[in-house]
Structures are given as structure tokens and as C-alpha cells.
């Protein structure tokens, strides 16, 4: 279409328009009518409110001291207190749950990235017989319903005495985290030019040396994202954790949160406070890396 490549930040530059000659107002590129701007803002505000509402609601409920306050949310403003938070921190096993969650999530992140990085590099740089098959299997493991694995895994873990054991849960999570991380890291490695490997090889590095000394340091942001992804996966997983962790001092937070409803006859106020305590650090961390979370997908896609 356009043969001469226009300067890319063309939106800012003034361009000759036919405005004066025709007398009709012609909008320049990047300009919108006032109505369109108002509508865009309106749509975004509505969407933003919908996104925010359930979470704001949770925060509000966590301030109401009585477990039936969720039925009379209007009254919470008058008697708001932090008593739920102090109760959760002092009288429940919150810190033990937090500890188990952190052990499992960090373990998954560490092992997941360790294994996924080398393979991600290999599938990004080399074409070998079985390449397509491997990629296919990695994609297919995303499709594994928990139902197909949970029964045999339960039996295997029982045989290995890994039920109620952090290591067991970490291994189970790695089964899902490793394939996705491999895809993610492949996408990231694809964005690093081949010439870097070649330069390293010319300078006498072995292929493995080029990977360890040149590519891994360059891929540090990608590795961080993969680690974060595994962390989040393990952090928020419910089904395996519910089934494989039976001792209530080894619950992860996702399982512990449910126990407020079954055991203590629906104590929504404590649950809300716990939920807020969990959500704040995770979301803060999430915002730091969210831009890169899909880099693998989009980078792999747009390169064509």
C-alpha cells in the first residue's frame, strides 16, 4: 500500500489538510469528535466500576464487625472497625496458611523456571526431529482437565506418602506450570536476536556457554515473568490443594479461606478480612509485572 514509510509518530506532526479549501471541517488523524471522547470515557468508567465493585465491596464488608453486616451494608460506615483483621491475625491459622502457601508457591516458581528455561531456549533456537511433537504435547498439557489427573495423582501420592506434604503439591503444580512457562520463555527467547548466539559461538563459546553466559542474563525479565506466573498459579489453585492437603495447619490460603464458611458457619466478615489481607500484596506485586505477562503470547504472535 504505502510505499514511502511515514514518520511513525505521525500523530503529533502537523499535516496539511483540506480544511480551508473545502470549508468543511476535516478531522486530523488522532483527533476525535467531542462526543466520541465523552462516550469513550463513559464506557471506560462503567467498565472500571464493574471491575472495581466486587473488590470494593469486599473491603467494605471486612470493616463491618458483625457476621450479618453483609445484609445491612449501609450500617457499616457508622461502626467500621479493624476488629476483623485483628481477629484473623491473632486467632486463626492465617500465618500458617501463609507459610504453606509461600513454600508451595516459591517452590513451584523455582522448579518451574529451572526446567522451563533450558527447554524454552532449545525450542526457540533449534529445529530438531520431534520439535513439533514436543510443542504439541506442551500445548496439550494446558488442556489437561484436572479430572483426568487428580484421581491417579491422588493414588500415586498416597503410595509415595506425599499426601499432606508440600513437596507433593509442588510437584503436582509443576506439571501445569512447566509447559506454560516453556511457551512463555520460548516467546521471550524468540525476541532475542540470533546474532547474539552466533557472535558468542564465533568467539568460541560452546552452545551451552552461549546460552548460560549470553542469553540467560538477557532473558532475566522473561524469567521473572515466568517465575511470577508459576507463583500465581500455585498461589490461587484450589482443586488440588483441597484434595491433597488434609491437615488444617498445612492448608494453603485458598483452602483456608473456604474453611470460614464450612466450619464456622459462614463468617463472612472474617472471610472478607482474610481475603483483603491476601489480595493486597498479591495485586501489588501483580501490577509490577502485568505488562510482561502476555509478552510471550504477543511477541510470538506479532513476529509472524
Amino acid at each position: 500500500m504505502s510505499t514511502s514509510t511515514l514518520d511513525t509518530p505521525s500523530r503529533s506532526g502537523p499535516r496539511p489538510t483540506a480544511t480551508e479549501s473545502t470549508g468543511r471541517r476535516v478531522r486530523r488523524r488522532g483527533e476525535r469528535s467531542r462526543l466520541a471522547t465523552v462516550l469513550s470515557h463513559a464506557a471506560l468508567i462503567v467498565a472500571g466500576l464493574i471491575a472495581l465493585l466486587p473488590i470494593a465491596w469486599l473491603v467494605l464488608l471486612s470493616l463491618g464487625p458483625d457476621k450479618n453486616d453483609y445484609l445491612h451494608p449501609g450500617g457499616i460506615a457508622h461502626k467500621a472497625s479493624l476488629s476483623n483483621y485483628s481477629f484473623v491475625l491473632e486467632h486463626t491459622q492465617f500465618f500458617e496458611w501463609l507459610k504453606s502457601t509461600l513454600i508451595v508457591a516459591c517452590g513451584t516458581a523455582f522448579i518451574g523456571v529451572l526446567f522451563a528455561a533450558t527447554t524454552g531456549y532449545a525450542v526457540s533456537r533449534m529445529r530438531f526431529p520431534g520439535y513439533r511433537g514436543l510443542m504439541w504435547v506442551l500445548l496439550l498439557t494446558q488442556a489437561f482437565p484436572i479430572a483426568v489427573l487428580i484421581v491417579p495423582m491422588y493414588q500415586i501420592l498416597t503410595d509415595l506418602r506425599l499426601i499432606d506434604n508440600y513437596l507433593g503439591l509442588i510437584l503436582v503444580y509443576c506439571g501445569t506450570a512447566v509447559p506454560y512457562c516453556t511457551w512463555l520463555l520460548k516467546g521471550y527467547f524468540d525476541t532475542i536476536p540470533f546474532e547474539i548466539d552466533e557472535a558468542g559461538r564465533v568467539d568460541g563459546l560452546s552452545p551451552f556457554g552461549a546460552y548460560v553466559r549470553l542469553i540467560l542474563p538477557l532473558a532475566r525479565p522473561g524469567l521473572a515473568v515466568a517465575a511470577f506466573y508459576s507463583f500465581i498459579t500455585a498461589f490461587g489453585e484450589v482443586a488440588f490443594a483441597t484434595t491433597f492437603m488434609l491437615d488444617d495447619s498445612k492448608y494453603t490460603l485458598a483452602v483456608g479461606l473456604q474453611s470460614f464458611i464450612s466450619e464456622h458457619d459462614a463468617q463472612w466478615n472474617y472471610m472478607a478480612a482474610t481475603a483483603v489481607l491476601i489480595a493486597v500484596p498479591v495485586s501489588a506485586f501483580f501490577y509490577l509485572v502485568q505488562k510482561h505477562l502476555v509478552t510471550g503470547l504477543t511477541a510470538g504472535g506479532t513476529k509472524g
Binding site: M1, T5, T8, S10, R11, R32, T37, S40, L44, A47, A51, L52, P54, I55, W57, L58, L61, F115, A116, T118, T119, V123, R125, M126, F128, L139, L140, A143, F144, P145, A147, V148, I150, V151, P152, Q155, C174, G175, F194, D197, R201, P207, A210, Y211, G236, V238, A239, T243, Q258, W268, A272, A275, I278, V282, S283, Q290, V294, L297, T298, G301
Partner: protein
């Protein structure tokens, strides 16, 4: 060793030697690649492959929690389940009450997947396009809209559950406006509606962020050229935006279908095990294996295998369809 760093698509085809020779050659040429993928192959083989084989075997037996090997205190009881061939599959697919047990859940699962992915994609794309314009407060909106993704699902689903409960916030608001107050969590239709709504809320940010990345990578000069040629806004969307998003879209839609089809946690946390009509196949299989007594391991695993086969067929077909369009996304 010679081919250690080798950009894709420079593979030359030579006449094929014999099989053993080929194996040797391929080993010599590619041992380095194989060494690098070995850890993942081993890990996946042990963590996914072995349980899968074991699960496949279970589906051919009549194992339940009553006849499996188990240890009670110090006594070890050996497994007594026996081989029943393909009986489980036949029973699930066309045994008595197969409609209630499998097909009704299957239809609901398909409806759920199509509805959720369609909503995710259209809402995600609209929001991404809104965010992709020059707009005051864009970063702020973006941060706000990613919130459902940032907060762990198991937290937000509980919040929805409180809001939708009988005397909860949403029904109070509807009551104040003199609108009907549906029983969101009890009535079958509204249960399904709720499930789709909550899942849509949770899943849109991922689509939005992915598609926004895709939109930003479309060359601005293409729009300029289209505008110069007199293309209307709709034509620019249809002939520049959509083709530009094609490869990102094909990946995220595939992932979306797979994830939604297997989306266990939302329905599990919203409705527990007690509402059979709203359970998609994954939840139903979990219910059979762990939510009831005695636990029916064999049938649960058989459902899992059926689910996996459905997805494998879908993914293969989807890839074929993409390749035919010359868009190898994966």
C-alpha cells in the same frame, strides 16, 4: 554439534537413509537440543505422563474408594477392583440415564465455553480499542480494568457469592428499584447466568491486555494509508485492525477455549458440589471422584479422558483450520 544455533526454516531435505543410520545421525546432529529438552520431557513424563497412563488404566476398571488399595491405621488392604474393559465409557455415553449424567453436562459445557469465550473476546477487544486511543487517564483506566485479574480468583469469587446471595447487595439494589430479584444462586437458569457472568468478569482482563499488546504492534502507517484511501472507521477496523490481530487472536482464543472448558474453580467456589445442573463436565468429574461417597475413581477418570479427547480433537481441528489459512499460530 554443527547445527547448534540454527535459525528456523533452514532445514535441508536430503534422501533418507535407513532407520538406524537416521537415528544415529539425528542423535549426533541434535544431541545438544535433546540434552536441553530432556529435563522437561522427564518432568512431564513423570508428573503428567505416568498419572495419565495410570488414569487410562483406571478407566478400564471398576475402581472406587471401597475397593482400592488403602491403609487404615496399620492394616493394609489390597486393591480388589477388576478389569471391566470399555464398560465405563459405554455406560457414560449410552448407558441408562446417560443423558442426565453426561449429555446434559456436555451441552451445558459447550454453551458455557462458547458464551464465555465470545464475551471475553468481544468485551476484551472493545476495551482494548478504547484504551488504545489517546485519552486522558488511560493508565488509570488500565490499572482499574486489570483488577479482576490481579486479585486471586478464589478471593473475588467469594465476593461475588456474598453480593449475589439471597439478601445480598445486588438484590437489595434491584429491590430498591422495584425490579425482580432473581435467586441467583438457587434457580437453575440464574445459576448458569451467574456462572457465565462471574467467569466473564474474571476472564476479560487477560484478553484485554493480550489484545492491547496486539493492537499496539499494528503499524500506525497502515491506518494512515487506509485513511488516505478513504476507508471508513468500520472499514479500517475490518481490514486493518482485525487482520493485524489475527495471530494474537488465534492464540488467545485457543487458550481461552481450553481454559474455559476446564474452568473448575469458579463453579466449584460459587456452587460447591450440591447443584448438579450447573456443573460443567470438569466439576462433575470431580464430584464423582471426590465429592460423593463412595468415591467413584473409575468413572471420574473416564470423564477426564473423554474431556481430554474432546479438547484434543478441537485443538487439532483448530490448528488445521489455521494452517489452511496460512496462519501457523502454534
Amino acid at each position: 554439534m554443527t547445527l547448534a544455533v540454527d535459525p528456523p526454516a533452514t532445514q535441508s531435505r536430503e534422501p533418507r537413509p535407513g532407520p538406524i543410520r537416521r537415528l544415529k545421525d539425528s542423535y549426533r546432529t541434535y544431541w545438544y537440543a535433546y540434552a536441553m529438552i530432556a529435563p522437561v520431557v522427564v518432568v512431564l513424563g513423570a508428573l503428567v505422563g505416568y498419572p495419565l497412563v495410570r488414569g487410562l488404566y483406571l478407566t478400564l476398571t471398576d475402581a472406587t474408594s471401597l475397593n482400592s488399595a488403602r491403609t487404615i491405621g496399620v492394616n493394609h488392604i489390597d486393591a480388589t477392583y477388576k478389569f471391566v474393559g470399555l464398560h465405563n465409557y459405554a455406560d457414560i455415553l449410552w448407558g441408562p440415564t446417560a443423558y442426565d449424567r453426561f449429555w446434559s453436562h456436555f451441552i451445558w459445557t459447550v454453551v458455557w465455553t462458547v458464551a464465555c469465550v465470545a464475551l471475553h473476546y468481544t468485551i476484551g477487544l472493545s476495551l482494548a480499542m478504547l484504551l488504545n486511543q489517546k485519552l486522558r487517564g488511560r493508565t488509570f483506566y488500565r490499572l482499574l480494568l486489570v483488577l479482576p485479574w490481579a486479585v486471586p480468583t478464589f478471593v473475588t469469587v467469594f465476593s461475588w457469592r456474598i453480593m449475589l446471595s439471597d439478601g445480598g447487595a445486588i438484590n437489595q439494589v434491584l429491590g430498591a428499584l422495584h425490579l425482580p430479584q432473581p435467586a441467583w444462586l438457587e434457580d437453575v437458569f440464574w445459576q448458569r447466568f451467574t456462572a457465565i457472568m462471574v467467569n466473564t468478569w474474571c476472564g476479560v482482563p487477560f484478553m484485554m491486555v493480550s489484545l492491547l499488546g496486539g493492537l499496539q504492534s499494528i503499524d500506525a502507517s497502515l491506518y494512515e494509508a487506509a485513511e488516505m484511501d478513504g476507508a471508513s472507521a468500520w472499514q479500517r477496523f475490518r481490514h486493518v485492525t482485525l487482520p493485524g490481530l489475527k495471530s494474537v487472536s488465534s492464540t488467545v482464543v485457543l487458550l481461552g477455549v481450553i481454559w474455559t472448558f476446564n474452568q473448575f474453580i469458579i463453579i466449584f467456589l460459587l456452587f460447591g458440589n450440591n447443584n448438579p445442573d450447573v456443573q460443567i463436565l470438569v466439576n462433575w468429574a470431580y464430584y464423582l471422584g471426590f465429592g460423593q461417597q463412595p468415591r467413584d475413581f473409575a468413572q471420574s477418570a473416564a470423564y477426564g479422558v473423554l474431556l481430554l479427547s474432546i479438547l484434543a480433537v478441537f485443538t487439532t481441528a483448530y490448528r488445521r483450520w489455521l494452517v489452511r489459512d496460512d496462519q501457523p499460530a502454534v
